[in-house]
């Protein structure tokens, strides 16, 4: 009987992420993936219907891991400052630990697979974040804002710093490394801006 080998499957996902980040979708093929994993093309087709199916499943997998990490030790009942800080810490930890996954997820998100992938991965996450946002407004800890404005102010600064970090440099090629102190400093400014 043909058995699903969990280690092999993990390797396939890892290599696929590497190849997509390195070559983009156009340069990525099942043949290249099979070669780099040392498995037959047929094996890949046992796991996945086709290239699109593989890309969607990988996107969903990364998204689920990301959102699960984001919700670690987080509760929508936390005070706004405490909860948002936890979100920053969790998001930064994921981005620093899994740079390839983040890059790959971004590529998938901005592709025709994006919407479906995101919807599959977002299950459960949306509710918790929505509840957190509503609690914060209700408790007068947060200015009521359109969600896009809220997101831009609440997370935009963090993602800017993380992008500098992943590139290893900031403006004008100045070497850059993300630190906890820098995160705290930026976070305090964000809280100040969002408080009523």
């Amino acid at each position: 009987m043909r058995t699903r080998n969990a280690d092999k499957e993990k390797l396939v996902i890892e290599k696929a992420i590497e190849l997509i980040v390195q070559d983009g979708f156009q340069g990525f093929s099942m043949n290249k993936l099979a070669k780099s994993c040392g498995v037959s093309v047929a094996t890949l087709y046992i796991y996945y219907e086709d290239k699109d199916d593989l890309i969607r499943k990988i996107g969903t997998e990364i998204g689920r891991n990301f959102f699960a990490t984001t919700l670690k030790d987080f509760s929508p009942d936390m005070s706004f400052a405490e909860g948002l800080k936890k979100q920053w810490e969790n998001r930064a930890a994921f981005a620093i630990k899994y740079p390839n996954e983040v890059a790959c997820f971004e590529i998938i998100r901005h592709s025709p697979h994006g919407e479906q992938t995101l919807n599959d991965a977002l299950v459960g996450f949306k509710d918790q974040m929505g509840q957190f946002f509503n609690n914060a407004v209700k408790n007068n800890e947060l200015i009521p804002l359109p969600i896009e404005v809220f997101w831009s102010v609440a997370y935009g600064p963090l993602y800017s710093l993380l992008r500098f970090h992943s590139e290893g440099k900031s403006m004008g090629g100045k070497p850059f490394k993300f630190t906890d102190a820098m995160m705290d400093e930026t976070f305090q400014l964000v809280i100040k801006a969002l408080k009523p």
Binding site: M1, R2, T3, R4, S29, M30, N31, S40, V41, A42, Y45, I46, E49, D50, K51, D52
Partner: protein
Amino acid sequence: MENQDHILIFRTNITALCKNCEMHKTLQSHTGIQQWNIDHEDVDCVLRIVSDSLSPQNIITIINRYGFDCSELE
């Protein structure tokens, strides 16, 4: 989850397939085929069949009948 013992994988030269052509209709309506798809983007135009009753040779015979190449992908 699909039973992996029932997945058959083939290399073909079916680069494109319209919904109205006879082969599409045959694969679609075959009682022994639970699910099928062709990865047209792949160089091998991989045909993937889920079937608990058909053998690889059965599939090859069907595909050859419509003038396409088909061989099992190892």
